[in-house]
Symmetry: C2
Subunit: 346 residues, 2 copies
């Protein structure tokens, strides 16, 4: 079954209003969640709604947050999200970064007391419409990664996303975890009864772990070994520790906890192209680079060379036209949620 993004947005809004969030704020969150589904970020859109509602009902999230600028200087701001829904906090923070970058050229906005905010690409992409590059970092909401050589899970899959405007070509949008596989992929493999490839996880003895039902007995592997560990660590320091948000042992596993605020930390940087030079010239050079890469000679068996964000862009076009596919188990869980909230289902 497929639904239009409007239908999906209306459904999410109904659910959030029924859970106690104001109409305007519910609509703002729903718009971002449906956008995630439109863009193909299936594990970070409406899929998360039952969990969000569970945590709202558990008292883990503030329904009437006073999201505010706690500190500010010309090139930065620190946002206190007051434990509001992450989408509201990050929309506020990204708009602040864009506004400040108009005069400052570049603005770095740190965030504390936020919550899970959906896919990183949502926020890294927002500055693009303002002829700005967006750079986003976050502390993930569950530690699945030890330090390199260790087995205590002190780090999350701390992601980075970068959105870069192009001219005639679609923008370049990188959105990646610092682990080989995001934890959502492990969950999906478990649901489907599939084995994981070697390289995704190891167990506490260092042996490859390929049975996703045994995921609790092991942990994710970072990209490039100690390099990915280093990236997860410094992205966490920048998005978490710097802002007074949770990092390391203070990270709350929001998959197994419906009552504790996560104090999620993020960072969003807006970089104005106009501050650095001619905007049209920049976009022309990005287009050239994209075309050089796409026209590159290929390894045997490779059908096409893709740019970061290209597949997401194609999904967006397709889903705008045909609607967003909802697999049966997801549809069922959403309609169960609707019944529990006393609202119309999908």
């Amino acid at each position: 079954m497929r639904v239009s993004s409007q239908q999906l947005e209306a459904f999410i809004t109904r659910a959030l209003v029924a859970a106690g969030i104001s109409g305007a704020e519910s609509k703002s969150i729903a718009e971002l969640m449906a956008r995630a589904d439109l863009n193909g970020a299936d594990g970070h859109g409406v899929f998360r709604l039952p969990q969000y509602v569970r945590r709202i009902k558990g008292g883990a999230v503030n329904l009437k947050p006073d999201i505010r600028v706690e500190r500010e200087a010309p090139g930065m701001a620190l946002i206190d999200g007051d434990n509001g829904m992450g989408h509201l906090v990050m929309r506020f923070a990204t708009e602040k970064a864009i506004e400040k970058a108009k005069s400052a050229g570049v603005a770095w906005v740190g965030v504390k007391w936020s919550n899970h905010a959906g896919p990183a690409s949502l926020y890294a992409s927002m500055p693009i419409a303002h002829d700005m590059i967006g750079l986003y970092l976050a502390v993930g909401n569950a530690n699945h990664l030890p330090a390199w050589g260790g087995i205590d899970m002190l780090l999350s899959t701390n992601p980075i996303a970068v959105g870069v405007p192009a001219g005639a070509e679609p923008p370049i949008v990188l959105d990646m975890a610092t682990t080989v596989a995001a934890y959502g992929k492990v969950k999906t493999a478990a649901q489907r009864g599939e084995a994981m490839p070697e390289g995704w996880m190891i167990d506490r003895e260092g042996r490859p772990l390929t049975d996703p039902r045994r995921a609790d007995e092991g942990f994710l592997l970072p990209i490039g070994g100690y390099k990915g560990y280093g990236l997860a660590l410094v992205f966490g320091l920048l998005a978490g520790t710097l802002n007074g948000a949770a990092m390391g042992r203070d990270v709350v596993d929001f998959n197994h906890d419906d009552t504790t605020p996560t104090n999620t930390g993020h960072a969003i940087v807006a970089i104005s192209l106009a501050a650095f030079g001619d905007v049209a010239d920049f976009k022309r050079r990005v287009d050239e680079l994209v075309r050089d890469i796409r026209a590159s000679k290929r390894l045997p068996g490779v059908d096409a060379i893709r740019l970061p964000g290209e597949q997401s862009h194609a999904k967006h076009e397709e889903r705008m036209r045909l609607g967003i596919p909802l697999p049966d188990p997801l549809l069922k869980s959403l309609n169960q949620l609707a019944a529990g909230l006393g609202i119309a289902g999908l």
Copy 2:
């Protein structure tokens, strides 16, 4: 043989003065190059001196650059390095970023028309003494990396470095290429007649390439497959394209060219801890995290868990005490260089 950093610095200064650079600027470059050797960045310190002198003599580098701020806003600056030695340009840029971050909280400084500037960690570490985090990105000076699935080498090993102040613990300093192995490691393996492990390089058919003497027939692999390709690409867009510096097909291979300016691009960001909160509290939390990580339970066979920069810090302590080791082939090449320049050798 070991030399003190003072001896090494004096030698590099003599060589650069003999090559035509002013005394004060030669000393400034030599101090940074010797610091790289002190920190254990053996492939990025005095090892590069013969190549630098060759390119100076070939007219590829401007001996009397007018390094200047071309554009400026409260949160950023764009530096035109006027094709000066990379160390001079990056010292100027980093000092500018630190100065601006004192009032702006965060300052992002882009650089164009620079040259190879030694290890990334040199510049990411400079803000630490000012209670700031340093974040550095650069476009490498030779393309050894294709887009994922391609064989045209359109990307370099574009590195990232992040320096984070701690309290009683040494600072955290991550410095890494976005490829599994830096190209210098391939060269070292070739010199020593050793095979490379699978995973460093592949050939144009996609087969593992383990003979470093055949390196020209293949290319480096990015960390995490398409993820490392994505990182190399966006770091290059931020350090190169944004600043009007070389990127993609415009990158000059400075290993095989002594006459063409490279228009090397870098970015350095200085982030003031005081803008975000209490500095002592930040450092205490970094110390706690470092100790949690170090005390983590370990995988079988692992003797210690290390923080990024820890081994470099230990080398610095050792080399301050015992001097910097110079392997025979390096010493020989430096004394040949000295003879050619008519200066005293080591």
